[in-house]
Amino acid sequence: MAAPAVILPGFSASMWMQSGATPSALSTANLSVWAAQVATIVGTVANGTGAAGTALNVEAVPAFGQDDAVANFSVAGARQSDKVPVQSAPTSMTITAAWNPSDAGLLLIRGDAISGIIDRTFVVAAVSGASTIAYAFNGRVSQFQIDAQPGAEAKCVFTVHPRGGQYGWSNT
């Protein structure tokens, strides 16, 4: 399906994840398939079906993608060196959310952080009307901290580390 031609500021972004305690993360190929795969994780408000997913109520969706990594090679006497792209790590997403001890999604995240070895599929959905563009990736949660300052609402901060090469784009 063709991606909708809409300027990105018109989208609203939301974050979703598989809802099982011990989920089977989507295979890499299925991370690029909307119908019956990514759509099952994304909720109906973002044009998915949501049968196997839950929303992650985050304060903001952080930047995602790939970190820059280059190696310099120089030849003696040459004015310029070569900058060669080398193995780039996917960007880890450090996310802040309002801490609600009853939030099912945050409790799953907390459990993942305790385990450290649970692979889960996460989806960032950008929605404009009936159009959704989804970035799906598999990742593991590491750090999980609760910041309960008396003068402000309690927050939790956690980091999702994507698995290398396991991501895909899809759209409605």
């Binding site: 399906m1 295979s27 890499t28 299925n30 690029s32 398939v33 119908a35 090469g165 899809s170």
Partner: protein, 69 residues
């Protein structure tokens, strides 16, 4: 040598860098192109076949006739 179905099946179920796996898969370009015509674009098979076709493009041989002198 694996059949195209086996290669696609491997790509569909793989957890890892599909691009890398597709690059080193040995398949027939014409077979991939034919399968791509009938595959559902929004399916895991479609994703796998598109990657295979990226590294196994169908080569079109143009035969030019020399003008008779």
């Amino acid at each position: 040598m694996e059949t195209l179905d086996q290669v696609v099946e491997g790509l569909v179920s793989a957890n890892g860098d599909l691009d890398l796996i597709a690059r080193f898969s040995s398949v027939d370009a014409n077979e991939v192109a034919a399968a791509l015509l009938t595959a559902d674009a929004d399916s895991a098979e479609g994703v796998a076949l598109r990657l295979l076709s990226k590294y196994n493009p169908v080569e079109v041989v143009v035969v030019s006739k020399k003008a008779k002198s």
